[in-house]
């Protein structure tokens, strides 16, 4: 038993760290650090740099242009990315569709799509959720009817993250409404967002930001060769992808970064004539979070290590998702509280590049309340924490 990095792992970490220090443009890093808005071009520029180093598509085999990382390497890489204030990799192409195509795609699909993910030619988005199907994915209602060489797709997708940047969508659609079980009769389609009948409408979230969208599909014609896997077997594809999506859901690197930020702020903020970090009550709240975070880190490493040894990660991933998201939320809660009344001011334009007015109150205060509210999503998306508890109760506890 050894919780520390092996010499080889440490060398890999150093390599990643050195590359990030050299390659990540300061302009982008500063925006991430200040929690400013990233443009589409920012993301694309960063993807291109990663792709150039071979580190954009982490799970993919090297032969296909991926990084071919082991789970441990991927864990180390992602932690370094967060620590370096690099933008996260927009996951839809590299982390989600890519692995699906490698597993289920036709030779033509792979040949066409994978290089375009690597090159940034395609920006994919995910068409899963629907207004009537939140946590209950199997109840989705978007219909695809076969007409000759095309599916005619009608329906509505929602929570489509960065869909306004995307030129392509992978979607779950219902191809057999008469199937005996709701999970059956679903298919996995690739949809060109430029097709007639695709309409993207912004969803403004409670913090006033536009990151997610509704996508309306009206008589959209999708060539049958864009079916991934077999018709009516989309649930199998989706489950495979959900499995991929679940690794790394703990977000311990974000929690660690958030906690370090909290420590910095708590040393600056004053309460009753001393730094907040020395306030008897606040310091204990911080200590409790730090203990939970230390334990969470090891819990996460246990999973990463098991994955590295080739073990399947079962409902433990759900436990990690629950605790990891709760922890991140608790940290954003403490961050907000740390700045006292200066959590109140809200100047939306301050998050744009080039805004240079003096901040209201301390510079670190501006994004904190916004972040706290935005991060409520963590316990909702990726399978709400309630759904994760149902999964654990059923599959792990046999209840």
């Amino acid at each position: 038993m050894d919780l520390d990095l092996s010499p080889g792992e440490a060398a890999f970490r150093d390599e990643v760290r050195a590359w990030l220090a050299a390659a990540l443009p300061a302009r982008i890093r500063d925006k991430v650090r200040a929690q400013k808005r990233l443009t589409k071009a920012d993301h694309e520029a960063w993807h291109a740099l990663l792709a150039g180093r071979g580190w954009l598509c982490l799970h993919w085999p090297r032969a296909l242009g991926g990084a071919g990382f082991t789970p441990v390497q991927k864990h180390i890489f992602e932690a370094e990315m967060v620590a370096a204030d690099a933008p996260r990799i927009v996951p839809f192409g590299p982390n989600m569709l890519g692995p699906v195509l490698i597993e289920f795609g036709t030779a033509a699909q792979k040949a066409h799509c994978l290089p375009r993910i690597l090159s940034g030619a395609d920006w994919w988005c995910q068409g899963y959720s629907e207004p009537g199907a939140g946590s209950d994915l199997a109840s989705l209602a978007t219909r695809a009817v076969r007409e000759g060489d095309h599916y005619i797709v009608n329906g509505q997708k929602t929570w489509t993250t960065l869909g306004h940047h995307a030129n392509a969508m992978f979607a779950l659609v219902r191809t057999d409404p008469a199937a005996p079980k709701p999970q059956q009769g679903i298919s996995f389609l690739l949809i060109d967002m430029a097709s007639p009948g695709v309409e993207v409408r912004p969803i403004v979230t409670l913090d006033g930001e536009h990151e997610v969208n509704e996508v309306w599909l009206t008589d959209v014609r999708v060539p049958v060769e864009n079916l991934v896997g077999r018709e009516n077997d989309g649930w199998t594809v989706a489950k495979y992808l959900l499995g991929f999506e679940r690794t790394g859901l703990a977000g311990t690197a974000f929690s660690r970064q958030g906690f370090e930020h909290l420590k910095r702020i708590a040393r600056i903020e004053q309460a009753d004539g001393r730094p907040l970090a020395e306030d008897p009550a606040f310091s204990l709240r911080m200590a409790e979070v730090e203990i939970d975070l230390m334990a969470m880190d090891v819990f996460n490493l246990r999973m990463v290590s098991a994955a590295n040894a080739g073990e399947a990660i079962g409902p433990e991933a759900s436990l990690i998702k629950i605790k990891g998201t709760e922890l991140r939320q608790r940290i954003t809660d403490l961050l907000r509280r740390a700045v006292g009344p200066y959590a109140m001011p809200f100047v939306p334009e301050a998050f744009d590049e080039g805004y240079n007015d003096a901040p209201i109150g301390p510079g670190h205060a501006a994004p904190l309340a916004r972040q706290y509210f935005n991060m409520r999503k963590l316990s909702i998306y990726g399978g709400s924490n309630e759904i994760q508890k149902n999964i654990v109760a059923k599959t792990m506890l046999g209840l």
């Binding site: 403004v204 009550a281 006292g340 200066y342 109140m344 809200f346 316990s379 709400s384």
Partner: protein, 375 residues
Amino acid sequence: MEFTLSEERRMLAETAARYLRERYPLELRHANAARAEGFSPAQWREMAELGLVAALLPPEAGGLGGAGADIALVFEHLGRALVVEPFLATGVLGATPLWRLGGPEAGALLESAAAGATLLALAHGEPEGRYAPAHVATTAREGAAGWRLAGRKAVVLNGDAAARLVVSARVSGALTDEDGLALFLVEAGAPGLTRRGYGTVEGGRAAEITLEDCPAAPLGAPGTAFPVIEEVLARACLALSAEVLGLAETAKGITLEHMRTRKQFGRPIGQFQALQHRMVEMVLEIEQLRSAVMLAAARLGAPRRERERAVSAAKNLAGRVGRLVAEECIQIHGGIGMTWEHALPHYAKRLVMIDHLFGDSDHHLARFRDLGMAG
């Protein structure tokens, strides 16, 4: 023991409820909040004409109420409708010092404030002061031309729209001494006064204020203002705790409606026992808050320590319950509870952000403890 409302208060409650139900839909609230002033001057006047500002003040200050129960009642209703008009800034924070410390201008100003004609604000908190009630670095000096103030004031609620500002300053003593504080009345257009207004996270307005050799008229005898400052903050904390109660009631109602209608896995999510039990825990905490608000309202006229303990208890619970209700209601809603077009998240934001005003739950917990030890 007697828990029923007096006839006057029942009428006041009905007036407030009817107006807000009929004239204050949420879309209008958003439109009001989006105005440059951060509220609708017209609706503010209407509500003042209905007596909702006067209810916050006692008859001797030109008001029609002014007891703890009046404040609690009005602010619970304002919370239910998520009102952004400047009741707190004008009717509580600005008016209380005028009532308590009088001065030549006070009577006319209070009358005008209660009628909705003059907006007031309290410029007390400072950039480094956090929630400490006696932290005042702003200085007041008396010269040949009268009193002059110098300093910075932080997060002054509705400070950009106010016509008159009540400003705290120090005439003697160290940074956090209770002795040596004074309150002054400052004209919005006074030379040396700079205001930088901004919106707040939940849709209100506030301002950073800089005073440089700014002329000011003292309220009461300079140096002895702390007890009044403490009373002003007590009334504000009661008002905000009652507002949380009203906000929580509406958030609960919205969420229960969602639970009855939203289906997942073939049935309304309100049938899932885990959500039911969490909802019950929320309801229970709301009832606890209601009780704490009643207690603080009843003790607002009590001797200092008893008043402050009851007020800190209420504000502590308001912080805890506000956060619980906000987080749980969003979670039960799922993604839709995070969208701008839905009513819930706007309630959630106000529920949480009130904790940042005049002492958060931790501040009031420690204060409640310290007040207990003193006695």
